[in-house]
């Protein structure tokens, strides 16, 4: 196969693996519960420098309790699995104005993109995940590319911050020292060059280098299956320790929430053997005549089977199982 064909094959494999319906249902429910909390906006202000009509809109509509109740009302059918794609898209539109508030726009932007991506998942393939039978899991939740978008969002968040923090002034500790002087949400004074955490005093330069290095690790670590749980633990520790240094409005929680996109078995999961003769447009089933491929990287010795959707790119009849 020529190189471009190999790239296309790899891309299709990356984008069109089936999404596990039960994992998607769990994620959908978690998302529906988390959204009203992430977008709680009472007491906040509209965008700085807004014109009078826009200010009026924010004060009387978008930041009102009734608006938040409307968001909550939309999250209920989403949690239940009633037309989650439609409800998800509606929620994106309804929540978009709240991304322009004076505080917390970063975390909201992250959640909005995740919601936009997740709206493309057929997350109602299983409505109640703890009641799903093996049969219902045959109907997959669609292709993996919406999940990949959420994963890439997390990678972009950590990766971009790591690259931005690779400047000499940051790695010297100057930036952290400056912020501890300038910003009221910094909980410690680093101007003396030391970060005091209880009985331990750490040079700020060490803290700065460690934070940049950690963000590089978090940007990359989740993509390696064997490392994802360790990466998640490192991330939790990183964000937990940050809470002692600086108060970041919701960004900690939004970031950790996206860990679920990697930790839940959403993509490339074992799909049980299908029932002969049935068509499955969702593409989530196994069964006779279905070409299977062992994926040693994913199996970890447990014999996990991963469908290779690329095998059917050319269309036509599926060869019988050998």
């Amino acid at each position: 196969m020529d190189p471009s064909g190999r790239w296309r094959q790899a891309l299709n494999g990356f984008l069109f693996q089936p999404v596990d319906a039960r994992a998607a249902a769990w994620f959908r429910m978690a998302f529906a519960v988390a959204l009203p909390w992430f977008f709680w906006s009472r007491g906040l202000r509209g965008p700085d420098g807004a014109t009078a009509p826009v200010r009026w809109l924010y004060e009387h509509v978008f930041l009102s309790f009734g608006y938040w109740l409307a968001v909550l009302a939309l999250c209920v059918p989403m949690a239940w699995g009633w037309r989650p794609r439609l409800v998800g898209c509606l929620l994106v539109l309804v929540l978009l104005p709240l991304d322009f508030l004076s505080v917390g726009s970063t975390s909201r932007l992250v959640m909005l993109f995740a919601l936009l991506a997740f709206s493309c998942v057929r997350s109602d393939a299983v409505r109640i995940p703890w009641r799903a039978s093996d049969r219902s899991r045959l109907h997959g939740a669609g292709p993996s590319w919406p999940v990949r978008l959420m994963q890439l969002q997390l990678t972009l968040l950590y990766g971009a911050n790591a690259i931005a923090k690779s400047s000499p002034s940051y790695l010297r500790g100057d930036v952290l020292m400056d912020y501890s002087i300038a910003l009221p949400n910094f909980r410690v004074d680093l101007s003396g060059g030391m970060l005091e955490l209880g009985p331990v005093a750490v040079p700020v330069v060490l803290a700065a280098v460690a934070s940049a290095f950690t963000e590089y690790f978090l940007a990359i670590g989740f993509w390696f299956g064997r490392w994802k749980w360790i990466t998640a633990l490192v991330g939790l520790g990183f964000h937990f320790s940050l809470t002692f240094i600086v108060q970041i409005f919701m960004l900690h929680y939004a970031t950790v929430f996206l860990y679920l996109a990697f930790l839940l078995p959403l993509v490339g999961r074992n799909v049980p053997a299908g029932h002969g003769g049935k068509t499955d447009p969702a593409g989530g089933s196994g069964g006779p005549g279905i070409k299977r491929r062992m994926n040693p990287a994913a199996s970890r010795g447990r014999g996990q089977i991963v469908r290779d959707p690329v095998a059917w790119r050319g269309g036509g009849e599926i060869p019988p199982a050998s």
Binding site: T106, L109, R122, A160, N161, S167, G283, G287, I290
Partner: protein
């Protein structure tokens, strides 16, 4: 025949790919908005001469220290280096001293506008003779 074509969102794999790359492009474009605490706040150096009677006399900020620049630490280093030079001695009144201060932005969204610089940090008030 069992149909096991992979599923799509839009019904067409090409459209799916367009949608994927479209949303990804939006995410990449929005990435600068996700950067936090990576760059020092902007600041401005101000110098005031204080006479032996306590009178405060504003002085023009010397050329090497003029303008808006990022970084309080950097500004402090510049002041300390400049304060040792003969040019600094010329600014100080006889029997008086110079008070250096760094005015910095307190908001991450503040742009390079001196009128929005609110915080003040006194760097050196000693005798500059």
């Amino acid at each position: 025949m069992i149909s096991n074509l992979p599923s799509t969102v839009t019904g067409s794999r090409t459209l799916d790919q367009i949608l994927f790359f479209g949303i990804l492009a939006l995410m990449v474009l929005a990435t600068p908005l996700l950067l936090v605490y990576y760059r020092s706040p902007f600041c401005k150096i101000v110098v005031v001469a204080i006479t032996s009677e306590g009178e405060r006399l504003p002085r023009k900020t010397p050329k090497p220290l003029k303008g808006i620049r990022p970084g309080i630490q950097g500004a402090e280093r510049l002041i300390r280096d400049f304060a040792r030079t003969p040019a600094a001695l010329e600014l100080a009144p006889p029997d008086g001293r110079l008070e250096w201060s760094v005015h910095f932005s307190k908001s991450l969204t503040d742009t390079i506008q001196s009128t929005r610089l609110k915080g003040v940090r006194i760097v050196a008030t000693g005798d500059n003779r």
